[in-house]
């Protein structure tokens, strides 16, 4: 090709000689399909990560501790799964870049688009967390039936926290009750007049609760106790306010 000759003649001559050829339609269809598939995978990935983070927070009991005030909020932020959050943010950023290749993406300014996308994905992640998906996967992971993600579920779901303890009430005790946590450890929970029951104290055997307080060996001095329920359980919020638990030695605050 003569780069400095007449432009039209050069281009048309190259077309005639077959040096330049049109790309077939399927090339562009494939590119669009790959873009859409990539975006779908990213959306799925972010929804999975957000819902998994919420599931982990439920499993560990951290999700419930903000009800205990400033100390609860501090614990909540300190125990957030930051690795999952960082991965989710990275995915959202990649998704935003991908979306900006389409007209509906670039016609909007970056910040509102990014905020809108984040809100939509967090809401979607919370909805996915309402399903029994992670519960089922977690059970499979514990039974060693989940080959790829099993390690991740076991690593995130069974770590021990110093001040947040989720478990099931097994029986009452003179100064509190006995609880079995999610690692099948038996723990003695000691109540005091200072123990906070933000949602009432209507607890009984087999109820799942979250105890906020420091642990020494197998004893927890409870700063606060609240009911824990799985995301996909139908809530029964007022039940806890109706009566005082029979073995509760103090009136709830």
């Amino acid at each position: 090709m003569d780069k400095h000759g007449p432009i039209k003649e050069n281009v048309l001559a190259d077309i005639a000689r077959g040096k330049i050829a049109m790309r077939p339609r399927w090339h562009f269809a494939l590119r669009t399909a790959l873009g859409v598939m990539g975006a779908t995978l990213l959306v799925g990935g972010v929804l999975y990560l957000i819902s998994f983070a919420v599931f982990i927070l439920h499993q560990t009991g951290v999700w419930f501790v903000p009800v205990f005030g400033s100390r609860g909020w501090y614990e909540f932020f300190a125990r957030l799964p930051w690795l999952l959050i960082a991965c989710s943010l990275l995915f959202v950023a990649i998704l935003e870049i991908l979306v900006r290749h389409f007209a509906f993406g670039w016609r909007r300014t970056v910040l509102p688009s990014l905020i809108g996308l984040t809100i939509a994905l967090v809401a979607g992640g919370l909805l996915v967390a309402q399903t029994p998906l992670h519960d089922a996967m977690f059970r499979s992971a514990r039974e060693r039936k989940l080959p790829v993600a099993g390690q991740m579920y076991r690593a995130f779901g069974s770590g021990r926290l110093e001040r947040v303890h989720r478990g099931v009430i097994v029986e009452d005790a003179d100064d509190g009750f006995i609880m079995r946590d999610r690692r099948d450890e038996i723990l003695h929970v000691i109540l005091s007049p200072e123990t906070n029951f933000p949602h009432g104290a209507d607890f009984g055997d087999d109820d799942t609760i979250v105890v906020f307080g420091s642990r020494e060996d197998h004893t927890i001095r409870a700063i606060g106790i609240t009911a824990a329920r799985n995301m996909h359980d139908i809530p029964a919020p007022r039940r806890y306010m109706r009566r005082t638990h029979p073995f509760l030695p103090f009136a709830p605050r």
Binding site: I7, K8, A16, R23, F28, W106, T109, V110
Partner: protein, 190 residues
């Protein structure tokens, strides 16, 4: 044989079907415009010609990605924009890669008034003379709007920018030109 009133979109559709002569007609129509567009960014005539040739080659190679339901010119100018911007990036990477706050936040833009259209001829004259004093990011939307007669949406699609950012850049570009003109009245009044 192609009728002179055949639309660009019809011609592009024919090229997609394999009619090479239709691509020649499109080149006749757009070669001077793309050369003019290139001159608003670059000064080296040979560079502009080489890039224009590349633009038409890319247009032909990718013509089947063009949707004949839409206007042909913004599609071609998008290819041209990429070619010229990439060339400028190679020449001065720092200036072109600078972070742009305009595209980050939404902006309120004033709607275009009818009497503003009457100023187009004046604006073209000012642009022709004072364009080099403007930064490329303000220069391009002004060129597309006043010389190539693109609307906000088409400019947004060519530059891959939010609509409000196009409005802001046009307004700022015009304000900058007014300053230049204010400083040098000979531009406007000869």
């Amino acid at each position: 044989m192609t009728a002179p009133d055949t639309s660009d979109e019809d011609l592009a559709g024919r090229v997609q079907q394999g009619a090479r002569d239709a691509f020649g007609v499109l080149m006749d129509r757009y070669e001077p415009r793309i050369l003019r567009y290139g001159r608003k960014f670059l000064s080296d005539t040979e560079d502009i010609k080489d890039l224009t040739q590349e633009i038409f080659i890319k247009a032909y190679v990718n013509i089947r990605s063009f949707d004949a339901e839409r206007r042909f010119s913004p599609w071609l100018y998008r290819i041209a924009h990429n070619a010229f911007i990439n060339h400028m990036r190679k020449k001065s990477p720092l200036r072109i890669f600078s972070f742009d706050l305009d595209a980050l936040m939404p902006h309120a833009t004033a709607p275009r008034r009818a009497d503003q259209d009457a100023d187009t001829a004046d604006m073209r004259r000012i642009l022709d003379t004072a364009l080099s004093s403007l930064d490329a990011k303000y220069r391009e939307p002004l060129v597309l709007h006043y010389f190539e007669e693109m609307n906000y949406r088409e400019i947004a699609d060519i530059m891959r920018l939010p609509l409000s950012t196009v409005g802001v850049r046009l307004a700022r570009g015009k304000a900058m030109l007014s300053k230049v003109v204010g400083a040098d009245k000979t531009i406007l009044y000869g």
